[in-house]
């Protein structure tokens, strides 16, 4: 399994780096969208408005959104690309079994995306003047966030295996994600303060905002619930992915797109 992880890291890195213009243009687009949103918000609020702490929360929310979008789309889009280019069936011929291969791929692409996220965050902080904190405890809610994120990614991958063309669902999903990641529901009152623990990723993003933007320390009870949330969504994603693989093999549609 270590060999597989290493091989996936190497493959992901080579494919990423062989065409550097794609990498640079990707980062430029992320930055341009942020700058556009940032400048419009300032324009609407007027020149006297100061973001204060909220700026840090906005920057973090946006950075997480870009990370989770790429994580969520990762499996589905790659499944579709590989079905089109013809390597997908070769992947399914692995004795490791598809779920393990795609899990290794998820880890490999995550490592790459975290590097990109760091670059994006540093650039965003430079543009906006935000000063985010990076306490080591933030790795814990980040892990639970990614567990739930990959759970959703496997659900999307399952949809791609069974329904094939999923670009439209992925497009709509991006806006749902913006709500899940950027809305500060940890400040909500009423039923939503409890319901947010049932929605994917929400408890983790709240904790990340506490740690990185509000300067609070980690609340272990909330973190336990966030971890549980991540584990449940991850397990659900893997289960549905296995079902989708069996269904695609039954229909003989593994390589279709």
């Amino acid at each position: 399994m270590i060999d597989l992880l290493y091989a996936e890291l190497k493959r992901t890195w080579i494919q990423f780096i062989r065409y550097p213009t794609e990498v640079i243009s990707g980062i430029v687009i992320i930055m341009a969208v942020f700058y556009g949103l940032f400048a419009s918000a300032q324009y609407m609020a007027g020149p006297g408005f100061a973001f204060g702490d909220r700026l840090d929360a906005v920057v973090l929310g946006y950075a997480l959104w870009t990370l989770i979008i790429s994580v969520n789309n990762d499996i589905a889009i790659n499944l579709q690309i590989e079905a089109e280019t013809g390597t997908l069936e070769q992947v399914f011929l692995s004795p490791f079994g598809a779920p393990r291969v795609f899990l290794a791929r998820a880890f490999a692409s995550l490592a790459l995306r975290l590097v990109i996220l760091m670059v994006v965050l540093l650039l965003l902080m430079g543009i906006s003047g935000s000063r985010l904190a990076f306490p080591p405890t933030l790795l814990l809610p980040l892990a639970s966030l990614l567990l739930a994120g990959y759970g959703l990614a496997f659900l999307m991958g399952a949809a791609a295996l069974v329904f094939k063309r999923v670009q439209q669902i992925l497009g709509i999903f991006q806006f749902l994600l913006l709500f899940l990641l950027a809305a500060p529901l940890e400040e909500a009152t009423g039923p939503m303060q409890y319901l947010r623990f049932l929605l994917p990723m929400l408890p983790s993003t709240g904790l990340l905002r506490d740690l990185m933007a509000r300067g609070l320390s980690l609340d272990w009870f909330t973190y336990t619930l966030a971890l549980l949330n991540g584990l449940v969504y991850f397990a659900l994603g893997m289960l549905v992915f296995r079902w989708a693989e069996a269904t695609a093999k039954q229909r003989g549609s593994l390589s279709g797109y």
């Binding site: 597989l4 290493y6 070769q90 011929l93 692995s94 490791f96 079994g97 093999k249 229909r251």
Partner: protein, 321 residues
């Protein structure tokens, strides 16, 4: 020549289980339900031994690719079973260690990676330890004459070279069974010959090869046995030689170098031959052929040829019947 059922399950009848690489029994695939129901493959039985090449032939949509994919564990059969080295790829994922495949219409490779990187990656994906995969990859590149191109991205290679890399990748884990779906499709003559030579070499190493092709001359050259599938059902399966013999006629065509005398013409006509100038046609028994040859002496012979069907004629006759 209708083969509807598999031969007996008793292995001892023909060979021991250890000498069988691939065994499929009553393999069937049904798609859809009700009015949409379509039986793509019906009770297909195939066996392959080490070093044997089986050409799997049939018109478009006859069920070749579905069968190959069922063997590779990519399409789940509705009925029947597959055993590769005694293991079922649908129930035991480790059975996939015995299978290498180059699938049709597919590029089978990562185009942004070089041949060496593809071999390293797919080696590990097939559970070969990383170092060993790298060593084997280099050996395969040397053997396939791809050393010079080892660091060129696959997308910059010619179609023939890409196909060679795809075959090398399919062999990286040293499989016992190689599935080749249309291995020479879209290749120029030289690349096609190269791939045929590779297939022969791979079979000589003791691997069993199941190949599908529409190029019947390729099948005739490479295959020890031929299975013909039509509308999902195998309609003929036997050795290439015996199949060709069965469909070949018993007419001989002779050519002589010079005029025959009237006496010779009379004798050969009596023996059942017809004469047209220097060409003779004879459709009698093989024994009388020697009497005929004796009667032609001392006129020099240019050629004696028996009518021989080629696989294209056999195929067309069988699928149209």
């Amino acid at each position: 020549m209708q083969l509807a059922r598999c031969p007996t399950d008793d292995w001892t009848n023909h060979s021991s289980p250890g000498s069988i690489v691939l065994d499929t029994r009553d393999l069937s695939k049904v798609y859809g339900r009700g009015k949409q129901r379509f039986e793509a493959v019906k009770q297909v039985c195939l066996t392959l031994h080490p070093g044997e090449v089986l050409a799997f032939l049939g018109p478009n949509g006859a069920g070749k690719t579905t069968t190959i994919k069922m063997i590779a564990g990519l399409v789940r059969p509705t009925q029947g079973r597959v055993a590769v080295m005694g293991e079922d790829p649908h129930r035991q994922p480790r059975a996939l260690r015995h299978i290498g495949a180059v699938l049709e219409g597919n590029r089978n490779l990562y185009w942004r990676l070089t041949p060496a990187e593809n071999l390293d990656y797919f080696g590990v994906l097939r559970q070969v330890p990383r170092q060993l995969a790298h060593r084997r990859g280099l050996e395969l590149l040397a053997r396939f004459g791809l050393e010079e191109k080892r660091n060129t991205p696959v997308q910059k290679l010619s179609r023939g070279m890409q196909q060679k890399v795809a075959i090398a990748v399919a062999l990286i884990h040293n499989p016992r069974l190689l599935l080749l779906d249309e291995p020479t499709l879209g290749l120029d003559v030289e690349a096609g010959e190269m791939v045929k030579a590779l297939v022969r070499q791979i079979a000589q190493e003791g691997r069993a090869i199941l190949l599908t092709t529409h190029q019947l001359d390729v099948a005739e050259e490479l295959a020890d046995r031929v299975a013909i599938i039509r509308r999902g059902r195998i309609i003929a399966e036997q050795s290439t030689e015996s199949l060709l013999k069965e469909f070949s006629g018993s007419t001989y065509h002779l050519e002589v170098d010079g005029e025959l005398s009237p006496q010779q013409i009379h004798t050969v006509t009596q023996l059942g031959a017809t004469v047209q100038g220097t060409q003779l046609t004879y459709a009698g028994t093989p024994e009388k052929l020697y009497a005929l040859l004796g009667a032609l002496s001392p006129v020099p012979l240019v050629s004696v040829q028996r009518d021989r069907a080629d696989l294209t004629q056999v195929f067309l006759k069988l699928v149209k019947d």
